[in-house]
């Protein structure tokens, strides 16, 4: 009689797996309703409230996953893990294939039989190692064959101990929580500090991360980034914001870095640019070239100065040029800055190029028209254009109340604009206004 050893409970899991497989076969054949997808979502797509009603497309892949553990008596862990990976990948692949057909066919309950054919796509070839495609496994699995081993068969304790029961992972999930204990990739990403909870909210990113193999996909790119000079502590931030760096081909990454080096960016500046603008290396060489050319031409700066500006604000190479063009137009036409003044402002505060138009005009309007500060003084201290409007207003009104609002360098008791905006409240009150912080707060409540 089969008596399970007291401290091994894996047999129960084994039995339930078999049961689940058999019931799944029965139920899924009856199932015709396809779950609607919401792409705002989260990993591996849909959340099935009733575990029984799985789409027929999933059925095959699920059986694929359970199949090896059913047939195999004593696999070693690495093989099982491979098979698990394989199963999950072809699973997610099949499910990913189901998705577009669903949206294409709309509300039809057409079973995606047609999608079985589309497994022969280059991506799935790439991802499935060992060369076994899903179709082959489908033919290998014949429903009429009795399973080779019964669940009630007696086995020796050693066999029971060495049997590796794969974890009962849910076929679909809204969260990566269910897979993180078993997946090597996800575990290593957590060690790096990647914020999986944010990434799983983006559509399809969760499935993509599950599909990655740590040794073949992730490690070469991490090594590449390290060789580039990116700090270890920044790798988590990078991947949290741009997970697609792990799917970008290494040749492309290397080509883009080579391009930046050819434009005479130093190694340290390339490393700092990549760590501060995570999407930088996903953009093509042509696009980066376009943008560098645009900045050099529009701003009329020398090559070295353009490099400095871009190195300080690398997201200039990532974002759209339309906002930058509009900001430049505003500075020239609405605010009336001359070419050389604009060059100086941009070299000191590159953020002016990507600032919010409305806020920029509001600040300039207050500084120029209410505080009566002339253009040349603003150009001398461009930091004021970067400050918060409320801060400038409160401090200016406070100084006005104290009769100290004098911003002309020629006259005595001149207040430097730099000190007006960049000092913290405490320092501002004591140094500039010669008042206490309490007085400033009382004044704020009279505005």
């Amino acid at each position: 009689m089969y008596r399970p050893p007291s401290h091994v409970t894996m047999s129960c899991v084994f039995i339930t797996d078999i049961y689940m497989a058999l019931t799944c076969i029965q139920h899924c054949q009856r199932c015709t309703s396809l779950l609607r997808s919401r792409s705002v979502g989260i990993t591996t797509l849909q959340y099935s409230t009733d575990a029984q009603h799985w789409p027929a497309a999933l059925w095959n892949s699920f059986i694929v996953r359970v199949l090896p553990s059913v047939l195999q008596r004593s696999p070693n862990p690495s093989q099982t893990r491979q098979r698990w990976n394989l199963g999950v990948r072809s699973y997610c692949e099949s499910h990913a294939k189901v998705q577009p057909s669903q949206t294409k066919h709309g509300n039809t309950d057409e079973l995606p039989e047609t999608d079985m054919v589309s497994y022969q796509n280059p991506v799935s070839h790439q991802l499935i190692d060992g060369g076994m495609l899903l179709k082959e496994w489908q033919t290998a699995f014949d429903l009429d064959d009795a399973p080779g081993h019964s669940a009630l068969e007696e086995i020796s304790h050693e066999e029971a101990v060495h049997m590796n029961i794969p974890a009962a992972l849910p076929p679909v999930s809204i969260s990566l929580k269910d897979y993180v204990n078993e997946s090597e990739t996800l575990g290593k990403l957590i060690q790096l500090g990647v914020q999986l909870w944010k990434l799983e909210q983006r559509p399809n990113v969760g499935s993509m991360l599950l599909r990655l193999d740590f040794q073949t996909d992730v490690t070469p790119r991490l090594v590449f980034l390290k060789q580039l000079g990116v700090d270890d502590s920044r790798l988590g931030y990078l991947i949290s914001h741009n997970p697609f760096i792990l799917t970008e081909s290494l040749e492309n990454l290397q080509a883009r870095v080579a391009y930046l080096r050819s434009k005479k960016f130093s190694a340290e500046s390339v490393a700092s640019m990549v760590s501060r603008a995570p999407y930088l290396l996903n953009f093509s060489v042509k696009r980066m070239d376009n943008r560098l050319g645009f900045y050099q031409q529009q701003l009329g700066l020398s090559a070295q100065k353009t490099r400095d500006v871009v190195a300080r604000l690398p997201r200039l190479l990532c974002g759209s040029l339309e906002t930058v063009k509009e900001n430049l137009k505003i500075c020239k036409l609405e605010m009336g800055f001359r070419e050389n003044e604009l060059q100086h402002i941009v070299t000191v505060i590159p953020k002016v190029l990507t600032a919010n138009k409305r806020k920029l005009t509001q600040i300039f309007d207050y500084i120029h028209n209410t505080m009566n500060i002339p253009h040349d003084l603003i150009v001398k201290f461009p930091q004021v254009l970067n400050a918060k409007y409320l801060r400038i207003k409160e401090r200016h009104l406070f100084l006005q109340y104290l009769d100290k609002a004098q911003y002309d360098p020629a006259k005595p008791n001149y207040i430097c604009l730099d000190k007006l905006v960049s000092l913290p409240d405490e320092a501002f009150c004591t140094e500039v206004a010669s008042a206490t912080l309490k007085d400033f707060e009382l004044f704020q409540k009279t505005m």
């Binding site: 401290h7 304790h157 929580k177 269910d178 993180v180 957590i190 409160e394 409540k445």
Partner: protein
């Protein structure tokens, strides 16, 4: 055993007031405060990492020696499913409610409540508490939205206006408002009880009413600028700007509103309102505690034995407007009740 973040959240459940600066929408202010409070809550230390047991088989060389003993070792590995990077921050949203709203143009005391105390906030909102405003006006202009930011419609002279005339106009307006108050409070004017209430200034409208000013005073007059102090009920800030416009019309001139500033909302004064540097969870917790202790002190003072419990019990609920803590006894009990957990 509550988690640290939940304990911080319970400390934050209360009513507090902030000073809203002019030029920002109240919703933006509420969202900023919610974000800051969430930062404070999620900064609390996470619970200890959970472990799970995994059984590992001993290497085969040991087993093959012929012993029939099962050699499995139990290893305690971290359960990554509950790691903060996988499950995310503990609080993604908290309910921050706003009391009487302030429009973009005005500034001043804005009462907010968090979590369970939103119930007390609804009661405060519906009860007949008065609010104090300081209105700054300028004579000689009329605009389409009654404030100085609107489109100019008319310019008039104002040399003929003296302080005396202005005060006469204000007295007239106060008189008409007082009559409206009497009408809407639905008291029988021939009773002694009604007279006593009116003398103490504790008359309040019964049910819905249009905006009523219970007090109106001229603070400062220097033509063309002047400042009024108003105590009112059921008002909107636009209504107050219109009042200024009507004051101008009564004086055979015109006036616009240059600033509306709320200095008191029920029992919340400008003295304890938090300015935008202090919109953090630690300062909010302190403000809530301070407010609760002041409520307890004033409740102890107000509960005196031997008050008549006649038909005027509802009127009794209204405290004096002269005192800073001008609000209902019912509100006392509501605000110090379990609704916000004091």
């Amino acid at each position: 055993m509550a988690r640290a973040s939940v304990r911080v959240f319970h400390k934050l459940e209360g009513l507090f007031s902030i000073y809203k600066p002019p030029g920002v929408h109240w919703k933006l202010v509420r969202d900023t405060i919610e974000t800051n409070l969430l930062k404070g809550i999620n900064a609390a230390p996470p619970p200890a990492p959970r472990q799970r047991v995994q059984f590992l088989a001993e290497p085969t060389s040991v087993v093959a020696e012929g012993s029939n003993e099962l050699t499995l070792s139990a290893a305690s590995v971290p359960a990554l499913a509950h790691h903060p990077l996988v499950s995310g921050p503990e609080f993604l949203h908290i309910g921050v409610g706003v009391g009487h709203r302030l429009d973009v143009f005005s500034s001043g005391v804005l009462v907010l409540g968090v979590g369970q105390s939103n119930k007390a906030l609804t009661d405060l909102y519906r009860s007949h508490v008065t609010r104090d405003y300081t209105l700054e006006g300028e004579l000689g202009m009329a605009t389409d939205n009654f404030s100085h930011t609107g489109r100019l419609i008319e310019r008039t002279t104002y040399d003929h206006i003296t302080r005396d005339k202005l005060e006469r106009v204000l007295a007239m307006m106060q008189g008409s408002n007082q009559k409206a108050l009497l009408t809407y409070s639905k008291v029988d004017m021939s009773t002694q009880g009604a007279y006593e209430l009116a003398v103490k200034g504790e008359l309040r409208p019964d049910g819905k009413s249009p905006p009523i000013m219970t007090g109106l005073r001229l603070l400062h007059f220097q033509p063309p600028h002047f400042t009024l102090e108003v105590q009112c009920l059921n008002e909107t800030q636009r209504y107050l700007c219109r009042i200024l416009h009507e004051v101008g019309l009564e004086l055979r001139s015109t006036a616009v509103c240059k600033g509306v500033r709320r200095t008191r909302d029920g029992p919340f004064t400008i003295q304890h309102a938090l300015t935008h540097q202090h919109w953090t969870s630690t300062d909010v917790i302190q403000a809530i505690r301070q407010y609760r202790s002041s409520r307890k002190a004033s409740k102890a003072k107000h509960t005196q034995p031997g008050k008549d419990t006649g038909t005027a019990s509802q009127r009794q609920e209204m405290a004096e407007e002269a005192a800073v803590t001008g609000d209902s006894h019912r509100l006392h009990s509501v605000l110090t009740s379990k609704a916000f957990g004091s």
